[in-house]
């Protein structure tokens, strides 16, 4: 089944899709990685992060700057992008020592805005609103990726890696510990789970993959500026997770595809596009709050204190 699916995916570039459709598929791929990474934090650990775009941006800038100034291979710049993002994830995870729920979400929001404003104002490094231009094509072992089909394969490989790693992680002892934290922190700690350690870990891993996605995006778009990594972008990623179904990797991947493609399909409606997008979000929440593939029974039951 999985092999069938992957072989089908590898055929896609040969099916003669227009560059426009290829572009949408590649963009969907980037958002699938972002949604999967956020799902670890929000879907499985229960931390609603409103600043995921910050990690995405940090990864993009790190990778772009390394490639521009030092002409390094994509393998290296992408990992560096992930690691730097993970470092900030770790930093952001530390206040979880004291904060919970909405308050923690607000710290992530504030963090996202601060990162964006630093990006806008640290002219010598980021060139501010002008952004970074001329980011080189990704190079892997001397092979330069510059065609749509190659980008498609690269993002496919990244998705599969992300998927496998996150999936294995969730099934492991650490993964159940994260879900236990989501379900009941007090009980989880009573079972011997070091809450702080696992939350920080979730932040770091989640940020790592968001950073990788950012790094791919930077090399694919060849131009980035802080406007690509705003609070709205964070909300977009979070919407994918909620819409797809928190805690379901397949669901959030689907959510990513839907939320990238729907606005594209609505392009003919021009300025009504975002209006409809907003309405769709509300309607989705009202009709299927657990998301497309979320288990309707899996809605958390409020605990009576």
């Amino acid at each position: 089944m999985i092999i069938l699916f992957i072989s089908f995916m590898t055929l896609i570039p040969f099916l003669g899709f227009s560059p426009y459709i290829m572009r949408i598929m590649i963009l969907s791929g980037i958002y699938i990685i972002l949604a999967l990474s956020l799902n670890l934090l929000t879907g499985f650990t229960g931390i609603v992060c409103l600043g995921h775009a910050a990690f995405y941006g940090i990864g993009a800038y790190t990778s772009a700057l390394l490639a521009i100034h030092f002409d390094l291979s994509f393998v290296f710049t992408a990992i560096a992008g992930g690691v730097v993002a993970a470092f900030f994830g770790l930093l952001l995870g530390l206040p979880t020592l004291r904060l919970n729920g909405t308050y923690l979400s607000m710290v992530t929001l504030g963090f996202c805005e601060i990162v964006r404003l630093v990006g806008l104002n640290w002219m010598s490094l980021t060139r501010g609103p002008m952004g970074l231009t001329g980011i080189p094509f990704p190079k892997i072992l001397g092979w330069v990726i510059d065609r749509d089909a190659e980008y498609f394969y690269l993002v496919l490989i990244l998705i599969i890696m992300t998927w496998v790693i996150l999936n294995n992680l969730i099934q492991s002892r650490a993964g159940i510990a994260l879900i236990a934290i989501r379900e009941d922190e007090v009980a989880a700690e009573a079972m011997g789970i070091n809450i702080l350690k696992y939350k920080v870990l979730a932040f770091a891993i989640s940020a790592f993959f968001a950073g990788i996605a950012g790094s791919f995006y930077a090399h694919y778009a060849s131009f980035i500026n802080p406007q690509s990594f705003t609070f709205d972008e964070s909300i977009q990623i979070l919407s994918m997770v909620i819409l797809g179904g928190m805690g379901s990797n397949l669901g959030v991947a689907l959510g990513a595809i839907v939320l990238v493609s729907v606005p594209e399909m609505l392009r003919g409606l021009q300025e009504y596009r975002m209006l409809i997008y907003g309405a769709v979000l509300v309607i989705m929440m009202l009709t299927r709050p657990q998301g497309i593939l979320g288990n309707p029974k899996a809605l958390k039951i409020p605990r009576n204190n």
């Binding site: 504030g110 009504y272 975002m274």
Partner: protein, 292 residues
């Protein structure tokens, strides 16, 4: 110079405070951050402008109409996007996304109906000014500041003294118990949304007058800063909104004098993050104890 910045900071800060009330009250009662509040603020400012310039109403009539309509919009937002979720006990995060959807919807609605370009907000109040300790204080600034303070203080008195206010506080403390005591929770929630939204309309209009321009994006930053103000003062605590709003306004105005102007907007967020890490319950909030 410092005194001038202080005055400017207090003026803007008082509008943050008015906007913060909406966040604070809704959070107090529903435990939810209402992300559509910033867009409601924008709608308020635009409604006043439309009634005044396009429909040629008297300014105060326009202002009053905007306050009432924006308040009703608040109720509508709750009924459409939040009430159904509340009824089925859906997780908080779905309500959050729902209000974000409303926010995107409203902002784009404004852009479609009135265009996305910056609009001139006419001079309504004579901009005469007085000179105090070398600072230039306009009548408009005095009006904005005193109006905000009067509104905030009367709101506080209402919450503390009146029956409705007591019912609101009871609902915020424990909605189930309040319901058992015969309080109509839904009515309380409606009043909360009405008041929060109409105050946002006041703030939006004031800021429009202050800068003499508005655009469909004004609510975004104003909303986020007001939220930071609500948290700084202690979310769910009304006097906290005043303290938080004025503090953010002043800190921002003063720091802007020393920092690169581009970082001005970052200050509110830095304050927000620091406050949450040091004392999440805010300046005036009580620390909640963990119940096992």
């Amino acid at each position: 110079m410092l005194f001038q910045q202080l005055i400017n900071g207090l003026t803007l800060g008082s509008t943050y405070a008015l906007t913060a009330v909406g966040y604070s009250m809704v959070f107090g009662i529903l435990g939810l951050v209402n992300f559509s509040h910033g867009s409601v603020y924008t709608v308020g400012a635009f409604l006043t402008l439309i009634f005044f310039t396009a429909l040629k109403f008297n300014f105060f009539v326009s202002f009053l109409l905007s306050i009432i309509l924006t308040g009703l919009l608040g109720i509508l937002i709750d009924r459409i996007s939040l009430y159904p979720l509340r009824k089925r006990n859906a997780p908080k995060v779905t309500s959050l996304i729902s209000t974000i959807g409303v926010s995107i919807f409203l902002q784009n609605l404004i852009m479609i109906t009135w265009g996305s370009e910056t609009k001139k907000f006419p001079l309504v109040i004579n901009r005469g000014s007085i000179n105090l300790f070398g600072a230039n204080i306009s009548t408009l600034q005095i009006m904005i500041f005193s109006m905000c303070i009067v509104l905030m203080v009367s709101l506080n008195i209402m919450i503390q003294k009146t029956r409705v206010g007591k019912a609101m506080r009871a609902t915020a403390q424990n909605s189930k118990a309040a319901m058992l005591m015969g309080i109509n929770i839904n009515a309380i929630i409606m009043i909360t949304f009405f008041m929060g939204s109409s105050l946002a309309s006041v703030a939006g209009t004031m800021v429009g007058m202050y800068y003499q321009t508005i655009d469909p994006y004004i609510g975004y930053m104003a909303g986020l800063k007001a939220f930071a103000a609500a948290v700084l003062g202690g979310i769910g605590v009304l006097p906290g909104a005043i303290v938080g709003g004025l503090s953010i306004g002043v800190i921002e105005a003063i720091a802007a004098g020393y920092l690169n102007a581009g970082y001005r907007d970052a200050i509110a967020f830095a304050v927000l993050v620091l406050m949450l890490i040091v004392k999440p319950s805010g300046l005036l909030g009580k620390q909640a104890s963990k119940k096992v």
